[in-house]
Symmetry: C2
Subunit: 168 residues, 2 copies
Amino acid sequence: MSRTRHTIARLNDLSHEEFARVCGPVFEGSPWIAAEAAAQRPFADFDVLLRALCDCARSSTPERQLELIRAHPDLAGRLTLTAESKREQSSAGLDALTQEEMELFRFRNESYRNRFGFPFVICARLNKKDAILAAFDRRLTHSRDEEIRVALEEIFKIAALRLRDIVI
Amino acid sequence: MSRTRHTIARLNDLSHEEFARVCGPVFEGSPWIAAEAAAQRPFADFDVLLRALCDCARSSTPERQLELIRAHPDLAGRLTLTAESKREQSSAGLDALTQEEMELFRFRNESYRNRFGFPFVICARLNKKDAILAAFDRRLTHSRDEEIRVALEEIFKIAALRLRDIVI
C-alpha cells in the first residue's frame, strides 16, 4: 500500500484517472466508487470526500452493493490479499493464529457464507480476534437484509480508516 | 475544538492528565475512556491507540456503556453542544433545517428515547439528514439490546473520525 498522503487540494487537482487510482482502494475491489465520486470534485474537506464516497455506495443498486460486499476476502482465509486487507487483518492479529483458531474462523466463514451468500465483513482495525469471533456468532442470528446493512456500515468504517491513510 | 494535531510519539510522551485532556473528547462526555487508556501507553500507531480506546468502552460494564450512549445529545435538538458535536451535526446539514424538518427530528428523537431510554446515536459525519431520518425509522424496529450494540458501533465510527482530527 502506498503510504504517500495527499492534501484535499491535491486530490481535487488530480486527473480523473489519478484520483480514481489513488482513492480506488478505499473500497475493496470496487474501483467504480472512487471513479464515480471523482466527477463530484472539488471536495471542501475530508468529511465531504468521505461522505461522497460512502454515498456512492449507499445510493448504488442492491446488485452493486452485493458485489461490493462480495469483493471482500474471508477473514484469515486467503493466501493472497490486497495490501490494505493484509495490513488490516494483521492489525487484528489474524496473521498469527493457531491451527485451532484457524479452524474456528474457517467454520464461521463457511457458516456465514452458507447462510447469507456473501462473506462476513467487519472492520478488523477496530476489533481484535476475540471480538471478531463474538461478532460472527451474533451476526449469524440476523436476517439477510439486516446483515447487508451491517456489512455496508462496516465497509464505511473500513473506508474512513483507509481514507485517513491517504489524506493528510 | 482544538485543531492542533499530535504525533503518536508526542501523545505517548504527554503526562497522564494531558493525554486524557487531549484524547478525552474522542468520546462524547466520557473522559474516563481516555483516562483509562492512558495507562496502556505507549501505543505503536494510530490503529493500536484507536482500538485501545474502543476496547475500554467495549469491555466496560453495561451501566457505563449506557452512560456513554446517554452522554450524546439529541440530533438537531440542543442549543448548546460540544465543539465536536456542533461540527459533526453541521457537517450533516443539521444546523440548517426548516421548521418542518426540525419537527421531523423532534418527533423521532422523542419516539426513540421513549422506546429505548437513551438518545439516538449515529455518526453524522458519514450520513446526511435524509439518511439519518431513514436510519431513525429503521432502527426504531430493533430490539433494545440490538440498539445498544448499534449505538456503540456508531460511537466507534465517531471516535475514529474524532481521533483522526487529533493525530497526525
